[in-house]
């Protein structure tokens, strides 16, 4: 078993399957020059929420995780290329919002496209961020077992 964060990342990578480019559970530091587009799936932050009026210890609590899917690529047409990637990623992420039972639910919270200075490399580098709010539930003493 592993922490719920890692299980969630791995479950998202499994849900994305083979979309036609590389998908990585966690950040790749740095992305190799000839790697092509890479989507890195990582948990940015987590907020622990009180559960519903349940007394006792250990408590079982919901956690709101902010999960980012960051897609980086070199391209002269960043808007077109990353809009295409976004279509694919959004559809795959919406297909099962529990990611095989790891999560309670998942919602796209925000997205952003960032393009770097085109004078820095062989081609301009662009990053697409899809930020999801994902709710999971675990016991305080067992952050490895997802609860429903």
């Amino acid at each position: 078993m592993s922490h719920i964060n890692k299980q969630l990342r791995d479950a998202i990578v499994a849900a994305l399957g083979s979309p036609g480019w590389t998908v990585s559970s966690g950040r790749v530091l740095p992305i190799a020059n000839d790697a092509g587009p890479v989507t890195s799936v990582y948990v940015r932050t987590g907020t622990v929420l009180e559960d519903d009026q349940v007394l006792g210890n250990p408590k079982k609590r919901f956690r709101g995780l902010s999960v980012s899917l960051e897609t980086s690529m070199k391209t002269h047409t960043p808007d077109d290329d990353l809009d295409d990637k976004q279509v694919t990623l959004e559809k795959l992420m919406a297909a099962d919002i529990t990611f095989a039972g790891i999560a309670i639910e998942s919602n796209l919270a925000s997205h952003e496209l960032q393009v770097e200075d085109g004078t820095l490399g062989e081609k301009p580098v662009a990053h697409l961020f899809l930020n999801y709010d994902v709710v999971v539930r675990v016991a305080d003493d067992d952050p490895e077992t997802p609860l429903s």
């Binding site: 950040r27 790749v28 530091l29 740095p30 992305i31 190799a32 020059n33 890479v38 890195s40 990582y42 980012s68 960051e70 980086s72 070199k74 002269h76 960032q114 770097e116 085109g118 004078t119 820095l120 490399g121 062989e122 081609k123 301009p124 580098v125 990053h127 961020f129």
Partner: protein
């Protein structure tokens, strides 16, 4: 009238070209206006950050005589070929005296 400073700058660029310009820069390859000029090519490693995930890359730059750049109308978008690799000029960066660095992209 050419200033003494300009003369020195021209001497320096000519000397450095003679010493270091081992790269043929083919300007507008395949075009009737194709011409081969001297340049000092560099494509050093660069790490492009901005997102959470940095990306490795190379920064292709060729340094040329400003007078060559101007005489051959090398501007943004001009295609070049260096060591068999095609590039185009993203932006020319003249030093204001004698040398212009052409920042390149691959198509």
């Amino acid at each position: 009238m050419t200033s003494r400073f300009q003369n020195h700058a021209d001497d320096i660029i000519n000397h450095s070209m003679a010493e270091f310009a081992h790269d043929d820069v083919i300007v507008r390859p395949g075009d009737p206006a194709e011409v081969t000029l001297e340049g000092i090519f560099d494509h050093a490693y660069v790490e492009i950050s901005g997102g959470e995930v940095p990306v490795e890359g190379r920064r292709p730059v060729v340094g040329m005589r400003t007078e060559d750049v101007e005489a051959n109308n090398i501007v943004q978008g001009t295609p070049l070929r260096i060591d068999g690799v095609d590039y185009f000029v993203v932006t020319p960066e003249p030093d204001g005296v004698a040398r212009t660095n052409l920042i390149l992209n691959e198509p």
